[in-house]
Symmetry: C2
């Protein structure tokens, strides 16, 4: 009960802070962001010391090397966090932008205006840099945030939070605009997820387990940044040289990310020519291949892909390969097994391209280019809070505009309804 009251009180303060933050000027928000960046650099030793505690606990608890690496804050990483905040300060303020306006026959002028959402809950794991990244993006878009990091990084997150919120008051921004759930008690998250009166949106960032749990328990709208089971389809009419480069790039350049491909679909008419060529470079890069029965007739000796493989997000140097009879089969396959993230076609045939781009039901669909471009920076947004695999509100790379909603401002001169 005590915990519940404590959390609800914090959320209530965050809500009040969101109302105040919504009308803070762009100038003051930018000044605050730059001050936050400065504070991170100034207090980097303090943050490092706190981080060292988390790292030593993680070692003691036997966390994996990869997890410890994600957890560790080097000077370089603290500088990156500060640079991130500076970049956000330099981006255009989305708040107040008029999306569209029109006049009605009765003289009413209706403006659809971009406004902050309110309070955004961010639930994340391990990487402590998320604390300042998300705080910066929410602040710039006029949203109060409630941060809840993983228990393994609680000391680091606390330190970062303390450092970046210290000076907010100087710019007319209440401290509660960047709130943090300062306990590792899991019940705290449940309380937050059941408080739609205070929190307007929840963004879970992390592994599949976390995201599923949040989506299933939340009574607040959730925008999921879920897995990326991405495909490249090499069509009958493909430029095979380009297809080889794109397949290699989409699989190998950074295999551990959501916009890397997991499955290669190849039209049967080009399979026997294309596959042996592409496989040469893939195998040079140590990519493990898993093929359908037809693929295995061309690429003898590779592993078999099972039904389970088609659903898998390997996040690793593994590639499933399937030969299809038509672009339609490829499209249906992607819509069935994909995660609605990013899917590409290589073809010179405009008609096939248009059918693919229109019928594949994913956030980002690519013609003759790598799926690796699904990213707020690559899209030119200058930032990214994540990549939505949901369809409601925001889809694909999410940045400042997607952290806003809108309101209708209606200007009249005495109009009443007849």
């Amino acid at each position: 009960m005590q915990l519940k009251n404590k959390i609800l009180k914090m959320l209530e303060e965050a809500k009040a802070a969101s109302r105040a933050l919504a009308s803070v000027s762009t100038k003051n928000k930018n000044k605050a962001l730059l001050a936050m960046a400065k504070a991170l650099l100034r207090d980097s030793r303090y943050i490092s010391l706190r981080n060292a505690r988390d790292v030593s606990l993680a070692r003691k608890n036997g966390l994996s090397k990869a997890m410890i690496d994600r957890l560790t804050l080097t000077d370089e990483r603290i500088k990156d966090m500060a640079d991130g905040l500076k970049t956000v300060a330099s981006l255009k303020d989305p708040v107040g932008g008029v999306i569209r306006q029109w006049k009605r026959p009765n003289g009413l002028l209706i403006k659809k205006v971009r406004v902050p959402i309110g309070v955004v809950g961010i639930i994340y794991e391990s990487r402590p840099n998320v604390t300042s990244d998300c705080a910066g993006l929410c602040l710039k878009s006029g949203n109060a945030c409630v941060l809840r990091g993983g228990s393994e990084s609680i000391n680091s997150n606390r330190a970062i939070h303390e450092v970046i919120t210290k000076g907010l008051g100087n710019f007319g921004i209440p401290k509660a605009a960047i709130s943090m759930i300062d306990t590792t008690d899991r019940k705290a998250v449940e309380i937050l997820l059941q408080a739609p009166e205070y929190v307007d949106l929840v963004i879970p960032r992390g592994g599949e387990g976390l995201i599923k749990h949040v989506a299933e328990t939340s009574r607040i709208p959730v925008i999921k940044h879920y897995k990326g089971v991405c495909h490249l389809y090499v069509d009958k009419f493909a430029d095979l040289k380009k297809a080889i480069d794109i397949a290699f790039n989409a699989k190998v350049q950074k295999p551990g990310v959501c916009n890397a491909i997991e499955t290669l679909l190849v039209h049967k008419a080009v399979a026997s020519k294309f596959l042996p060529q592409v496989v040469r470079s893939l195998e040079d890069a140590d990519v493990e291949l898993r093929g359908c029965a037809k693929t295995k007739k061309i690429l003898r000796g590779i592993k078999s892909a099972t039904e389970k493989d088609w659903y898998e997000e390997y996040l690793d140097l593994i590639l499933a390969i399937k030969i299809v009879d038509s672009a339609d089969e490829a499209i249906d396959f992607i819509n069935k097994y994909g995660s609605g993230h990013s899917d590409a076609i290589v073809t010179k045939n405009k008609k096939v391209a248009n059918v693919f781009l229109s019928r594949v039901d994913s956030a980002c669909v690519y013609l003759n280019s790598s799926t690796r471009f699904t990213d707020g920076y690559q899209f030119g947004f200058g930032a990214e809070i994540g990549i939505s695999t949901d369809k409601i509100h925001a889809r694909g790379p999410m940045a400042l505009e997607e952290l806003c909603t809108y309101k209708y401002v209606v200007l009249g001169s005495g109009q009443i309804r007849q």
Copy 2:
């Protein structure tokens, strides 16, 4: 188990139908809508007979006169349903519209394109016209819908559904694009609300109980069309003549709707002049007044407003009145007690107006005009599936564009990520 399998099979078919419908041409969708309208008129006798069954059952079960009225389908109402479908046919197709496009330095052309959401579940009560209204809006916006009406109108809904879906195949649209849950078993709704793999969005339409229940149980994103606790604030700098007309219009013209006002806020500087004037016309219209202590000093003999009144959506000829010390107090009051629907200010002072319009956190904020304009038709959308009081995805009047999401179509010529 049998019910679960049956419902899941229906949802799976709706999902498949949504994929097909997403690429049906505008021409065919419009032809289908006109054919649906024609079928309603042709088979109106059949629909009336089925409706008579619901009405007689409702009488037997002792439903209120108001509910029986909402349930009854006169020839006039069936004609209205047909006209509604014709109107939707005449509206611009939102699907495929390019919201914005830009070129990246590497030559990639990124298009943000409007696309259907997928499968929309509509859960509604009593009025059988919702069946054809929602089916039409979903069809035009390329969405499959799964309709679930109230048990009291099941015979009417079945008949309408049967009539409007009969000819869909002639236009390349699968029948399952307009699906209906054909049982009054409440478990069916629970099954739907737990099936995010098939249903992309749920819109509950009806009373507070229904909406709350759906919002609390759903694992699918919900856009609530919740209550309207709307305010009119008469500022110190108001044109009082306009304020009287607007107050009267917003309360009396149609009191039973969500965009009518429930509370009148008056600046103390104008209260003693304004209130006696506005009350004359309100009392002539039989409006019951409930005032705060200060109001009661001016309007002697009226009822007292309690804390509960400030939260109330009367949907009736009742008006709560409060005198405030400042525009800021009015704004805070609205943000505390309002439902984020529609709120208006009457003032000649630009600065006060801007503060009010910016700080009041509602879907629609009005300057010198009646809140009664919050409506898809009044906004010029040509249609309306409801008025969202949520902030995520759609806010305020929701029509065809708001029934869409977007995807990014990225056109390249061999680009790979460096």
